[in-house]
């Protein structure tokens, strides 16, 4: 028969361990009040801007931060009001949100999932951020979105283009304004067919990570549907800097189009190498050899210099758009900072405004009330025409821009020209095709 040895010290130790274990699941809602995480109780509300401040995307992160600072200024009644002047919803009045002055804290994602989660967690737990937004990578967006879901705060994604963010990895607390790989493929294919013909042989070089796969799949599906043949698709390491050994065999393959499913430094280097190898001066199968870059970013295009000339791609927004919303945003941003905003800056500014507007309309910072206000919300005047925040996957549906590297730029910002504004109907898809479950909204606390 065993004997039960109970000591005072043992009971205290066991109790402490059990208590800590029970408290662990609620670690993120320690500051929760009034039924949800980080409910603002004073005269201010805190946003968490989680952007790459170091690493390869630091310049893009800096532009995102500029846009967020501008949004906060406008929300608090400063500056010229920015897009509040053109936004179809008139709930915001420039007096903060629900009478509370907007303040913010920033975190550095370093474009690394673990670092991004740590900085988001710190902003939620230590700084009391009621909403997290920003980022320049799909891997980071998916990781931070999952954290925000657990923590019970809203995540308004920054620049993230992978289908997965609002596809298989979608979450009820996460929302994306930026377009995605599927939309790029759907918008690009008709333009490529019109300019290069429907009888083409494509060779894909694809960055070996999640975004690369979804972009390759989207472009392949769209171009093969109109008659193109994919002769090869080669994955390239994310750390690759010199792409010569991947590009040199392209001509031998019989391909007459090279699709570079690369972003950031990968895109700059692979495009530069492809142009160096003279691919664009070659004739294959009796046709001019062409290069396509599915996702363009002006900041990144700048790195590739003159090599982008004449090359098609897609983008979420461009400062040369002439609708009232775009003109207003370019004016507000340009007069404050002296140069036009990037697409990353635009989507981040819009996300901050959309969140604020949803809170104002919902009359509460409760994430579930905010999510309900954002779901199926239709709006206009933010620079992309009429837009819908679809309830099924929390993805924005709006027109997509097909752009081309400009032949004769007038400045360092004037690198891309808009070739076509693809109507939203052409890039809309069934929410179920990418799988995943939204789950239910988590208010935390």
């Amino acid at each position: 028969m065993s004997k039960l040895n109970l000591t005072r010290r043992g009971v205290i130790q066991t109790g402490a361990v059990a208590g800590a274990g029970l408290a662990l699941p609620t670690y993120l809602s320690a500051a929760g009040h009034e039924g949800f995480t980080n409910a603002p109780t004073g005269s201010t509300v805190t946003f968490g801007f989680n952007v790459p401040q170091t690493g390869a995307y630091a310049d893009e992160g800096a532009d995102e931060l500029r846009a967020y600072e501008l949004a906060v200024e406008h929300l608090n009644g400063g500056g010229d009001g920015g897009l509040m002047n053109t936004f179809s919803s008139k709930a915001l009045e420039g007096t903060g949100i629900l009478g509370k002055k907007v303040e913010y804290v920033t975190g550095d994602t370093q474009t690394k999932s673990d670092a991004a989660r740590a900085s988001a967690k710190s902003m939620i737990e230590k700084d009391g951020a009621v909403m997290i937004t920003g980022g320049s990578s799909s891997g980071v967006a998916v990781a931070v979105q999952a954290l925000c879901q657990e923590a019970g705060v809203i995540f308004m994604a920054g620049l993230t283009h992978s289908n997965d963010t609002t596809g298989k990895d979608k979450k009820a607390n996460g929302f994306r304004h930026f377009f995605n790989s599927y939309m790029s493929g759907a918008a690009l294919a008709p333009i490529l067919g019109k300019n290069y013909g429907t009888d083409r042989k494509a060779y894909h070089l694809t960055a070996d990570y999640n975004w690369g796969y979804t972009t390759e799949e989207a472009v392949r599906t769209s171009t093969e549907a109109m008659g193109w043949e994919t002769v090869a698709a080669v994955k390239t390491p994310l750390t690759q800097t010199d792409f010569s050994s991947y590009i040199a065999p392209v001509l031998q393959s019989g391909a007459d189009v090279l699709v570079l499913n690369h972003y950031g430094g990968n895109m700059v280097n692979s495009l530069t190498n492809a142009v160096q190898f003279g691919l664009r001066e070659k004739q294959v199968n009796g046709k001019n050899f062409e290069i396509v870059v599915p996702l363009y970013s002006r900041l990144m295009a700048k790195g590739a210099g003159a090599n982008v000339k004449g090359i098609f791609g897609s983008t979420n927004w461009h400062w040369s758009l002439q609708d009232e919303g775009s003109k207003q945003f370019v004016k507000s941003f340009g007069e404050k900072y002296g140069f036009p905003p990037s697409q990353a800056a635009h989507t981040c500014y819009v996300q901050a405004m959309l969140y604020a507007d949803a809170v104002q309309r919902a009359g509460s910072f409760n994430p579930c009330a905010v999510a309900e206000a954002l779901e199926d919300f239709e709006f206009d005047g933010m620079g992309n025409g009429k837009t819908l925040y679809r309830a099924e996957d929390h993805q924005c549906f709006k027109d997509v821009l097909v752009v081309k590297g400009k032949e004769n730029p007038t400045s360092e910002f004037d690198l891309l020209e808009i070739v076509e504004v693809t109507p939203v109907g052409q890039v809309t898809y069934d929410a179920s095709i990418f799988g995943g479950e939204l789950g239910t909204c988590n208010p935390g606390a």
Partner: protein
């Protein structure tokens, strides 16, 4: 056959960069016994010498063009480089166009100065410390240097093209009897390879045929005895550090038209260059050059679609795989000297 020739050509220019960086690393290790993890940063600083000279040559004053507008609808401010005012537009354009080759002249004194300052200011204090300390301090220095560059030049790559005369590619295949468009090779990569061969040849000639070089080689073999002969070997080794920095810097200068430089480019090459040094044999200059070209070519072969289809992921590990095999079969590397890095 054509694919093999193509990948050998690609491997040669890649190997040129590895060989030049590894040569400098080996010079520093062989003379000073220091494992310099800041050597990749010297390659990066060399690249930014080219960027800096380009920016100096394109320093501009603005004129207002009333016929065009900027993004805010205001009259466009057009930048006019001062070199246009001094030399005329045509000559000014030519000078800017040739900024990368001109940067060689700019980079040599800058890189020697950077190397000497680095050695005298920091690294000399770590000569007698364990290799682990040297690695830590030089790695820290590399991070500091790249953050300084990022502060001034930003994180994005900066396009710095080759002169117009060297843009595009030539059809090497037709020269050796293949069909057109089978083996093409960019002009600038050929220039880079030739440049690397000249620099490597010059370093070897300097060490082999000058009195200074002879003393340095003697010092590499037996530092103590050379010192006992009354020769200030430390001063010569400091100069060698400056020379190694210049070699890495020149490799960086000429590399910028191949890939637009960014602050991180040194780190991208650093680890590979160390593998090159180890495979070549610690302290062996010919070994570093041989291993540089060998690994460059092997890396190119491993990137072939047929090879990746056969062994998925081989393109990402080939260099390390070769390093393991060589170190297992020849622990001193391909041309390593007995007693170097051995207790």
């Amino acid at each position: 056959m054509d694919a093999l020739i193509l990948q050998i050509l690609n491997g040669l220019d890649k190997g040129s960069a590895y060989a030049l960086i590894a040569l400098g690393l080996t010079l520093i290790f062989g003379t000073l016994g220091v494992v310099n993890f800041a050597h990749g940063a010297l390659f990066m600083i060399g690249a930014f010498c080219a960027v800096t000279l380009n920016r100096i040559l394109t320093l501009s004053h603005t004129v207002i063009d009333e016929t065009r507008t900027d993004f805010l609808g205001k009259p466009l401010q057009v930048d006019v480089p001062y070199v246009y005012d001094i030399f005329g537009e045509s000559a000014g354009n030519a000078i800017i166009d040739w900024s990368v080759p001109l940067a060689i002249l700019f980079a040599i004194p800058v890189m020697i100065a950077v190397g000497v300052i680095m050695e005298r200011g920091l690294i000399k204090h770590f000569y007698k410390r364990p290799h682990a300390d040297q690695i830590l301090v030089t790695f820290g220095l590399a991070i500091v240097l790249q953050e300084i560059i990022k502060y001034f030049y930003g994180a994005n790559p900066i396009p710095t093209p080759a002169p117009e005369a060297f843009k595009g590619s030539f059809d090497f295949g037709t020269m050796i009897g293949f069909d057109p468009n089978i083996i093409i090779y960019p002009y600038w990569r050929l220039v880079y390879f030739c440049f690397a061969v000249v620099i490597i040849g010059a370093v070897f000639a300097f060490l082999q045929f000058t009195t200074f070089g002879m003393v340095v080689r003697a010092g590499m073999a037996d530092r103590e005895t050379v010192g006992l002969l009354g020769i200030n070997i430390d001063r010569r080794f400091t100069i060698m550090f400056g020379l190694a920095a210049a070699v890495a810097g020149l490799a960086g200068v000429m590399y910028v038209p191949i890939n637009p430089p960014n602050y991180h480019m040194g780190m991208d090459f650093l680890v590979l260059s160390f593998v090159v040094v180890v495979v070549g044999g610690m302290g062996s200059l010919p070994g570093a050059v041989l291993a540089g070209f060998l690994l460059g070519i092997l890396e190119s072969f491993a990137s072939m679609r047929e090879v990746i289809d056969f062994i998925p992921g081989i393109n990402q590990v080939i260099i390390y795989l070769v390093a393991i095999i060589i170190l297992l079969t020849r622990p001193r590397g391909l041309m390593g000297r007995k007693g170097v890095m051995e207790d």
